[in-house]
């Protein structure tokens, strides 16, 4: 694997209003990597993701996405940069008034000059990639949770983005569906070489897909661990990291127990 960084986060501080959630965080994501952001509830995982996909402007610091600094772009340029990424939202965020095929075709129609017929062939290929052949004319409300996620993934991949972001891909899915989605993520990463950034706290998912992780912490408002999840599980000295990977409540402080699962 080439070790060329595709996302560089430098001294990033984000938050809402006066509250700082993450304080001067820096890390790199390399090209083609399966990168997982994890941490307990309320540690700023989702905030970090939102900052990386340009939904909330950072207080300070830089996010360099494939050579472009997100924080200094104006609206039009930002949208151009964002075309390099795809996002699978937690609830899949499919448009309820459109069929699955129309959802996937929307970005393709907007940004490529392909004729209609070719677009429908392409949409069929995309849906085939996520094993949703035959569901073109279904509406999102007619799909199950796992199918919605896969359709959302097909839409996120519509323009073959360099980087795919996943917000809690296994949230709300049963273990089997969730494992299938993990397999699909691995498969797409291998066959297409897309860089994937996943926010999750599902331990099994983490061990199944992650090549490298960063773990965020609520108290230090920053990264407390970085590296291979299996190595961290077995060798980390940090008590929070240990507890997280071994799925144990914080014993000395029962009031806050549960936040690490």
């Amino acid at each position: 694997m080439t070790r060329k960084p595709i996302i560089q986060v430098r001294e990033l501080s984000v938050g809402y209003g006066d509250v700082i959630i993450l304080d001067r965080v820096s890390f790199d994501v390399y090209e083609g990597e399966l990168f997982v952001i994890l941490g307990g509830s309320g540690c700023g995982k989702s905030t970090l993701l939102k900052a990386m996909i340009g939904l909330i402007p950072p207080f300070s610091g830089q996010i360099i996405m494939d050579g472009d600094d997100l924080s200094i772009q104006d609206e039009t340029n930002l949208q151009k940069v964002l075309r390099k990424i795809g996002v699978l939202y937690q609830g899949a965020a499919l448009f309820g008034s459109m069929t699955v095929a129309e959802n996937v075709a929307l970005p393709i129609e907007e940004y490529t000059p392909l004729p209609r017929e070719s677009i429908s062939t392409l949409v069929r290929m995309k849906l085939g990639l996520v094993s949703l052949q035959g569901y073109e004319n279904h509406f999102p409300s007619e799909l199950s949770g796992g199918m919605k996620k896969r359709a959302g993934l097909a839409r996120a991949m519509a323009l073959n983005p360099k980087i795919l972001f996943f917000d809690e891909p296994s949230a709300g899915l049963d273990p089997i569906t969730s494992a299938e989605l993990d397999d699909l993520i691995l498969h797409l990463n291998r066959s297409l070489g897309t860089t994937m950034v996943i926010v999750t706290h599902e331990l099994e998912s983490i061990f199944a897909v992650a090549q490298r992780i960063i773990m965020l912490d609520k108290h230090s408002k920053g990264i407390i661990a970085e590296g291979d999840p299996r190595y961290l599980r077995d060798h980390s000295q940090n008590p929070f990291v240990k507890q997280f990977f071994n799925r144990r409540a914080i014993e000395e402080d029962l009031d806050t127990a549960g936040k690490d699962t």
Partner: protein
Amino acid sequence: MKIPETPTKAQYEISEAPQGAVILRICGNMDASNAGPMIQTLSARLREYAISSLTVDLEGVDYLDDFGALVLIELRKMATHGRAAFHIIHASDKIKDLLSILDFDSLDEQLPIQKKSSPSVFVHIGEATIQLVSDMKYVLSFIGSIIISLVHVCSKPRSLRKNDTLLYMQRVGVEGLPIVALISFLMGLIMAFMSSVQLQQFGANIYVASLVSLAMTRELGPIITAIIVAGRSGSAFAAEIGTMKISEEVDALFTMGFNPVLFLAVPKLIAAVIMVPILTLFSDLFAIMGGLLVGVSMLDLTVNSYIAQTIKTLSLFDVFWGVLKSGIFAALITLIGCLRGFQVRGGAASVGQATTSAVVSSIFMIILSDSIFSVILRYWG
């Protein structure tokens, strides 16, 4: 798979062997940035040849994604359409892998996607009738549950959510007052102005005061106020309950043992029924002030004579009648707004429909019930 910032150019070269065997060599990238133009130019170029077999040589292709595969599919379609053979040669292992993942060989053969058949007119009429009947049932059961909740509130006043009721009284009444006052004032002004043109010819300037006060207190005051409240608050009720419905908050209330109607609709209903009549009184007052302004400034009436004429014209019954009507309008607006909110199913579009329908049906019901009131008054009063 990536989209380069600047479209990468793919090179192609077409050579023709004897008997129409055409070889197409492609070099460079085949991706999202150039698939569209490539399909166009290649199909235009290949049309010049009488093809008996088309061979695509991918030796020089550095990168191919599913958009590239689409180009190949279009080429294959063209070839098979002219009954020519189609081959791909010198594809790298990576490209072969991708094509097999995409199910390249069988993509053409897939059946056209089944369209849902559109039912006939009779089916439509039948469905609409069934829908109408079930809607009516729903409306009846909704009104029933409102009545039960009201009875419950009367017997156990503690079960009314007082803070919510006060909040909605503020939203419907206090916050609605400025716009109601402004529009009523202007209405009074316009009415006085329009009627003065006619009445002046008979020297009956003083009757402008009678006309404005009577028309406003009996008819226009309640109607204008109700229409403004329908637009401001009826829509808000529908949108609020509808959004709660799709985010499962209504279900949460139900499972927590609350009666959603008692919890959500009754405070709104009580707030509206108290506040809209008060708003109507303000509306009457401001309209009379509008008329007064025109009377004093343009018709040489004194303030005293205008007010005296207004008092002489109006009976307490007129004011009471208008206020009574506005109370009924308020109940209609709230019931329709909440009903539409509870009827929301599905997603965001449904909330929009409910809001629109709440306002439209409220205004319709306001006008309809007002005409019924007029008829009642005519034969009974």
